[in-house]
């Protein structure tokens, strides 16, 4: 086997190991955190769909509180997310529910008064 081919095989083996570790043992910084991911806003003919996921990397089970308000109506929901777990929240927004064209979302972690994620959506139905 030529030296070039040996290098090729070795590089492929290293690449495969890196890919496996990337998937099954991702490197983490050691910092504990919660984050919102996969946020998407989708417009359909007669509705808007707001979707996002909460990921718990706190190293322990965590409680979250989701608050949603639109058109004078408010909604609140509690979530218990185990360590490493993912929770998805989807909100369908209809024309009759967004009177002022604005909706507000906040996510609180544990008993914290300050939300760790907060968004305002300006929605218009043509």
């Amino acid at each position: 086997m030529s030296r070039l081919r040996i290098i090729l095989v070795a590089s492929l083996v290293i690449l495969g190991v890196l890919v496996v570790f990337t998937v099954f043992r991702p490197m983490v910084s050691g910092e504990k955190y919660s984050k919102v991911s996969r946020e998407s806003v989708i417009q359909r003919e007669d509705e808007w769909i707001i979707q996002y996921s909460i990921v718990n990397r706190e190293g322990k089970d965590m409680n979250y509180i989701i608050n949603w308000s639109a058109g004078g109506e408010t909604y609140s929901e509690r979530v218990l997310l185990k360590d490493g777990g993912i929770f998805t929240y989807i909100q369908h927004v209809y024309p009759e529910t967004v009177k002022e064209g604005k909706a507000h979302l906040s996510i609180h972690k544990g008993g914290e008064a300050t939300p760790f994620e907060e968004s305002t959506y300006y929605i218009r139905f043509d």
Binding site: L4, E77, I86
Partner: protein, 248 residues
Amino acid sequence: MNGTLDITIPEEFTNVALVDYTDFSNANLSGGSGSDWTISGTNDVAIKNSVDHLSFQATTPAGYGVNTQWEFDTRFTGTGGKEVSGVDYITEANVLVQVTWESYNDAAHQNQDDLFDQAGEDTAYMFGKGYEASTAYHVGYYDGDGAKLLSDGVSSNSTGDLSSLCYFPTYQGSAVAGTWHSVVYKDGVASPPETYIASDPDSVVEDSFEVTAEAIPEFPTVISAIAVAGACGGIYFWMRRRLVYVKA
């Protein structure tokens, strides 16, 4: 003897008909078409115990929701060994309207399915009828351990249909296979709890279905295969281009 039984049924009901009027053989039905229904009848024999039979059927129109309290005003007046003064309520019936909620493996809700056990069956499409029209609900999805994975805030349409879906691969590596539950809660009444509660009295309706590990893969196999194959091919192509042919 000669007691008169009168039952008033709200006009919103349709297909009202007597079913069993054994003890009230002259019972008759009137009303409808924009006015309340009335069933009236006289008991055939003297009532000697607490049970006399008169039953009827009725259908609620589409769009009327679950847990709606309907009152069937039932009055019985008669004389016998004891003088009756005034009118007494015999009973009031509260009718619970049942809604449907089932899982399907297609977006058109044609194939009802309670078992998601293949890689291609990665979405549970939920659908039901009989809900309050144009009303906001939240649908909670719980995995095999009872952990809440998803909350979908969705409204029923003008005919009381409700739909929602859960895409399993979103929960790769975190959700537990087994019996999953999809539970409907009406906004303003309750929200999906943090963990699954069986037969939750605050819920509207629930459905369960089986989700196996094959339906929630740990890793997208196709993507990994393409990535590794592409990387190998790229390295090989690059090294081939660097080959220097030496004249023998």
